[in-house]
Subunit: 166 residues, 2 copies
DNA sequence: CGCATCATTGAGCTCGCTCAACCGTCGTGG
DNA sequence: CCACGACGGTTGAGCGAGCTCAATGATGCG
């Protein structure tokens, strides 16, 4: 799943991706200010805030506890994402993204579950830039691309870490 | 207060500013991954996680509840900040920043509590760009600058809203 | 007064965006 | 079975928003 915000003129920012068993959508207040969409066929379970005025009630039960943990985890990720968006160069953004994705997929070889457009809108760049940089990384032997370019294998994580700069 | 992350080479991203009575510093796990600094003389109160393994324990007491609320509020702000960093132009960033600050200060006339460098590092730009854009906004009569350029008065909020694009 | 710090302003350059063409894959219908 | 179009991805060329470098101005402090 991706959760995103869009500006009136259509510019889009994907605030985060969610993988299996991730919890998402915890927001302050009643109104949801961002939307979540599936990037592919997905099964999701909805937990609705019980009737009470929509505040953070019933903190004592297990679900609320998980929701809070997820919000705090998300917050940490958001902070990491902020420095990526605000201060990293295009190549550093892609390197960070690949390392982060590999970690969340628990494998150095994986199929990206999202399109280049989704990646670009997550990293605050364009599809062309993502494409060019992935091509360069492949040329340099740092990664391998296959099969419609969605399948990725990290060949040299040390080099990626060096590129990511953080 | 400002909370920020820095890359190895010194590039800095300020993830957020905190004003009077704001709670900050809620983070996943034991290790703090970002640092908080005062932008001027400040009195802060520290709440230490009670001995227990550092998880989100004792959810039932008042303080934890406030901490959770602050984390969720921060998360919402982070998402707003992400689209600013990733998708807005320099002038839109500054317009958003001014409107947001006015709202948090509850006044259209205020003294900025942080330097241009802090603003730039928050918006993912440079001091020069911030300076140039503020000058332009003043030239256009949208804002007024005085007194060492820290004092700001919003003269035309409608115009700022139009500039901010969200 | 001199120095340090913060902010402004100018000039030139660069990274990444825009625009555009092209390629490969897939699914659909004749 | 193949032609076709749609879609996602790649690649090239040129351009411009914003960065870098540099000089100057304003303010405050010892």
């Amino acid at each position: 799943m991706r959760s995103c915000k869009v500006l009136v003129d259509g510019r889009r920012q994907i605030t985060g991706f969610y993988f299996v068993d991730d919890i998402f959508g915890v927001e302050p207040g009643l109104a949801h200010r961002l939307s979540a969409e599936a990037t592919r066929a997905t099964r999701a379970v909805a937990y609705l805030q019980p009737g009470s005025a929509g505040g953070l009630s019933r903190l004592d039960d297990r679900l609320s506890r998980d929701a809070i943990t997820s919000a705090v985890t998300d917050l940490g990720r958001s902070h990491e994402h902020a420095i990526l968006l605000g201060r990293k160069t295009a190549i550093e953004k892609v390197a960070s993204f690949l390392l982060d994705t590999a970690e969340r997929m628990r494998s150095d070889t994986f199929e990206l579950p999202m399109s280049r457009l989704d990646i670009a809108d997550h990293l605050g760049t364009t599809i062309e830039t993502v494409s060019r940089i992935m091509a360069k990384l492949a040329r340099d032997g740092v990664i391998t691309l296959q099969n419609g370019r969605r399948a990725i294998a990290l060949r040299n994580k040390a080099a990626l870490c060096r590129l990511q700069e953080s």
